[in-house]
């Protein structure tokens, strides 16, 4: 299971193991080859990019996932306002050269698929649906990673402080 920890103060911490990450990458690689999507991103709903596939050199994917997460969240609020109880599950943006397809993956993640207008939407929908199921299966696999305590220790904070001083000169 992907560790989605609720901490004492209510904040959320998501931890992904190396194995889960590999499997997620495999699912996205397959989706990219089946749909001929130019770019695929998996991000968490707060906008943090998890992984990417396809041509990502020309695109700032950190920004794309931040924008997509907000897009998704804004649509969910719209759903509430118009009296839709469930969240809208997908979003589709149609362009002249590229289309963008966004779909949620469980409650904590979403996929962004960028593809050429020559690819039919139906095809993207079918393979994305399958990929989402595979991703949910990966998230369910019960393997626990080390928790944040192993990374963020006293040593880490003091080194981070030094690096910030160095960068913020």
């Amino acid at each position: 299971m992907v560790q989605v920890k609720k901490l004492k103060d209510g904040s959320r911490q998501i931890i992904l193991t190396a194995k889960q990450f590999d499997e997620i990458t495999k699912v996205l690689t397959e989706l990219a080859s089946k749909t001929k999507a130019s770019t695929i991103l998996l991000a968490d709903i707060s906008g943090q990019l998890i992984t990417q596939r396809g041509n990502t050199d020309d695109i700032n994917t950190a920004i794309l996932s931040a924008l997509a997460a907000s897009d998704f969240a804004a649509t969910s609020e719209m759903a509430k306002l118009v009296g839709e109880d469930a969240k809208f599950k997908l979003l589709f943006h149609e362009g002249e050269k590229r289309n963008v397809y966004l779909s949620n993956v469980g409650d904590n993640f979403f996929l962004v698929v960028v593809f050429d207008v020559s690819v039919t939407l139906g095809l993207v929908r079918i393979y994305t649906k399958k990929a989402i199921q595979n991703l949910l299966d990966v998230f369910e696999t019960s393997e626990m990673g080390d928790d944040a305590g192993k990374i963020i220790d006293q040593d880490f904070s003091s080194m981070l402080g030094d690096m910030l001083d160095e960068s913020f000169k």
Binding site: S11, L16, A62, I63, A69, I152, M159, D165
Partner: protein, 194 residues
């Protein structure tokens, strides 16, 4: 917070919150202009024609590897204007630390208090509270005439005694001190939670 063991990445989300025109975007613009381009990505701003933030500003900072781990800081601002309440709520999703930017001018005190209450309400809806959540206050626009004294600002806004900074964001005064402090707060908070 999002930790990716395969890439050894730690992602943290920091949100600049405050009333309209208090200088949230200016903070990010200053950071972006001063940091080495290798450490920061593009600054995205979603603005109206009048240069007011309509949804958010975003930029990512990296400071290199620490003990093999790569911390990444995602900085966001919220739109300050009162009627963008839903947008502010959305941007707080998954937040790890908050910089509350207050406008030091005397006639903006009410706006500061109103926005702080709005922040507390939004945090409570997510199961947090200002009492325990990592946040810092930045008293901005200290160079303007007609600013409130630090003492009064502290009494009216800093009731949980979080770290505070006086700033002139447009000149960069106090901007990096604030950012460094919130990053420290977040990291210490993570340690305390474990």
């Amino acid at each position: 917070m999002f930790i990716n063991w395969a890439l050894q990445e730690i992602n943290l989300k920091i949100v600049y919150y405050g009333p309209g025109m208090c200088g949230k975007t200016t903070n990010l613009e200053y950071i972006h202009s001063k940091l080495d381009p290798s450490l920061t990505g593009e600054l995205v701003t979603l603005k109206t024609k009048e240069d007011r933030t309509i949804f958010f500003d975003f930029m990512q900072i990296e400071v290199g590897r620490i003990k093999g781990k790569k911390p990444k800081f995602n900085l966001y601002t919220v739109p300050g204007q009162v009627y963008y309440a839903s947008s502010r709520k959305i941007i707080l999703n998954g937040v790890d630390g908050i910089v509350f930017v207050a406008d030091s001018q005397k006639d903006r005190m009410e706006g500061n208090i109103e926005t702080l209450l709005d922040l507390e309400n939004n945090l409570m809806a997510m199961g947090h509270s200002l009492e325990t959540f990592p946040w810092v206050i930045q008293y901005n626009k200290r160079d303007l005439p007609n600013t409130e004294s630090l003492d009064i600002l502290q009494k009216k806004l800093n009731f949980f005694h979080v770290p505070h900074f006086e700033s002139v964001a447009i000149k960069g005064t106090g901007v990096f001190d604030t950012l460094k402090s919130i990053i420290n707060q977040v990291v210490q908070h993570v340690q305390r939670q474990l």
